[in-house]
């Protein structure tokens, strides 16, 4: 419980800059920072991707603990798509975490509502195919095999490879509330329907448990959830043509070996809210100044520093 005081030791970089930020912030906006202090209050409401949640909650906790104890950052994780529905309405959420790009329909809806949306890329994630740790045969697959497994074309493991057991494959994945589902469906499966008996779940933790207990399981989700459960899951290496590549913080990069299964993850900012509420904007800046530092800890690869800095600059313009 003694977590809210002097534990800035490991984030000097973050805390050196921000006080200055906030000082500006207090004077430039209409918020009640009239003593020139950096004390902000109010709430910041975030929903959306469950994939991004670990990173976002980590950032939020640090922000509340070290920066602005009077600001309440609330992070939920209904999933990217469900989150967008809450984001794109009157009095909607301030941020929506997303594990995919915003869709055209969603953009259109934002325009219709007069919501200005800012896309903030926060990290890179590698979509990870996982199997049960007892599964010692399916250590590597090709993208085509992944497609055939998840569309139900292959029913038994022996359909993938005759040497493998003649057991029925059980597929798992996050449900349609999730951006991960859509990324998988659109990018990995190239818009072919998923197997009808796939076990879809709302909660990633449930998926982790399911795959870790079912010897014939194969599932997919973000690298972070695999990374936290290496004891209970095996990650499948993917052979994109140049030999099998295991997902790792090194291979996951926009031009890395795992690039084909790598996707950027975002948080989308409601700019109107950011203009109205100092704490929202302040938090947005904090996110872009700390995302890369905290990415690794939560199982993400960092984005190029320039990209982050560009966003920080862009945000500061709003002040």
């Amino acid at each position: 419980g003694n977590n809210n005081d002097e534990d800035n030791s490991d984030d000097d970089k973050g805390s050196e800059e921000t006080p200055a930020e906030n000082a500006d912030n207090g004077t430039d906006t209409e918020s009640e920072g009239d003593e020139g202090s950096n004390e902000l209050e109010g709430s910041v409401v975030i929903d959306g991707s469950g994939t991004v949640y670990p990173l976002m909650s980590e950032i939020a906790l640090e922000y509340m603990t070290n920066e602005q104890p009077n600001v309440s950052v609330e992070v939920s994780r209904a999933g990217t798509s469900a989150g967008f529905e809450k984001f794109l309405q009157e009095n909607g959420t301030d941020f929506n975490d997303a594990s995919r790009y915003i869709k055209d329909e969603e953009k259109a809806k934002a325009e219709e509502l007069g919501i200005e949306v800012l896309e903030m890329k926060v990290a890179l994630d590698g979509l990870t195919i996982v199997v049960n740790p007892e599964n010692d045969f399916a250590t590597e697959l090709t993208p085509d095999q992944v497609i055939s497994i998840f569309t139900g074309e292959y029913v038994n493991w022996s359909d993938v490879n005759p040497d493998w057991p003649n057991e029925k494959i059980q597929t798992y994945g996050p449900n349609e509330n999730h951006g991960t589902y859509e990324f998988f469906y659109e990018t990995i499966l190239e818009e072919q329907d998923l197997a009808s008996d796939i076990n879809l779940q709302q909660e990633y933790s449930t998926l982790v448990t399911l795959v870790s207990e079912d010897v014939n399981a194969i599932g997919f989700f973000g690298f972070g959830y695999y990374d936290s459960n290496k004891d209970n899951l095996n990650a499948v290496s993917i052979d994109f043509g140049d030999g099998p590549v295991a997902p790792s913080l090194d291979t996951i990069a926009e031009d890395g070996d795992y690039a084909d299964y790598t996707r950027p993850v975002f948080t989308y900012l409601n700019v109107n809210n950011a203009k109205e509420k100092a704490q929202v904007l302040d938090y947005a800046i904090y996110v872009m100044e700390n995302n890369n530092r905290l990415a690794g800890k939560t199982g993400f690869a960092p984005i190029p520093d320039e990209e982050a800095q560009a966003l920080v600059d862009q945000l500061k313009e709003l002040q």
């Binding site: 419980g1 509340m64 603990t65 104890p69 933790s205 448990t209």
Partner: protein, 294 residues
């Protein structure tokens, strides 16, 4: 003349009695089965929570770092929520019970209300959640604050409190109120000075049991949309909040992210069960101690 063959009858006696004794054993086992499950359940959470419950845990803030995480926010959320639920349900529940038992004329209207209350008692809690979401969170624009959660849970347990209060009022012997009327007391004087004090232990017992139901409710709160992460302690009924069962829910879900969260969840369950245990003991205590033998 004789239909009953005494020999046969006494020969059958042995097996009949044996069957009786065997089934008696089976019935006892069935009774103990529930208790066995209870024991396993408690054992598991207690074992998982050993070493995790300490002062810092109870008074600390939420953290992603399991070692430093505390549940004061959830405790305060639950406390504030009960600060809404308890008075609202007690006032509405006792008031309604008094009306139905002592004022309402026995007729169509009274029986409609009575049937309605019985039905409300059987409406799933999740439906109350939707009601709360629609009315309090959205229509009244409260958002997912303590007040909205509290009112939702109040409606949920109101029927239980009403029925318990009605029974307690009915159990007050008529001769007590007659004695009061006999001295020229008015109806409300009689209710206030004689009937309610006599019924209070019964009412409180029912109310405490209902409140302990509310404390453990999770489903309506998930519908109302309690965030998975919220740090500031709620300072009043207009603040956003999380509650103990919600914290258990999220920590258990996230135990796949950080294995120690499972221990935190177990520790929180222990805290919640202790709270419930204290409440239930209070109810039993009140029932035994204050219930008048008229």
């Amino acid at each position: 003349m004789k239909y009953m063959d005494a020999d046969k009858v006494s020969k059958r006696m042995g097996p009949r009695i044996l069957k009786n004794n065997l089934l008696k054993g089976l019935f006892l086992l069935a009774t103990l089965f529930g208790l066995l499950v209870l024991a396993i359940l408690i054992y598991r959470v207690v074992v998982d929570s050993v070493g995790w419950i300490d002062w810092d845990f109870l008074t600390g803030k939420l953290s992603t770092d399991a070692e430093r995480a505390g549940i004061m926010g959830a405790i305060l959320g639950t406390v504030w929520m009960m600060a809404v639920v308890a008075p609202v349900t007690l006032i509405l529940g006792i008031g309604t019970a008094i009306y139905l038992e002592l004022y309402a004329r026995k007729g169509r209207f009274q029986s409609i209300i009575q049937t309605n209350i019985a039905n409300l008692a059987g409406v799933p809690s999740i439906v109350y959640g939707i009601l709360g979401l629609t009315i309090f969170v959205r229509a009244m624009e409260m958002g997912n604050i303590v007040l909205a959660g509290g009112l939702t849970l109040s409606l949920l347990i109101l029927p239980i409190v009403i029925v318990a209060a009605q029974e307690a009022i009915r159990a007050v012997p008529g001769y007590l109120s007659e004695a009061s009327y006999g001295m020229g007391a008015t109806k409300w004087q009689t209710i206030k000075n004689v009937i309610l004090p006599a019924a209070l232990p019964g009412i409180l017992t029912g109310a405490i049991l209902a409140l302990s139901r509310a404390i453990g409710e999770t489903a309506p709160l998930t519908v109302i949309g309690i965030p998975a992460l919220i740090l500031p302690f709620p300072g009043g009924i207009f603040d956003k909040f999380t509650a103990l069962p919600m914290q258990i829910y999220y920590w258990t879900l996230d135990s796949s992210l950080v294995a120690e969260y499972a221990n935190l969840a177990a520790a929180t369950i222990v805290v919640l069960l202790l709270l419930l245990f204290v409440l239930n003991s209070a109810a039993i205590f009140i029932r035994n101690k204050f219930q008048q033998r008229f």
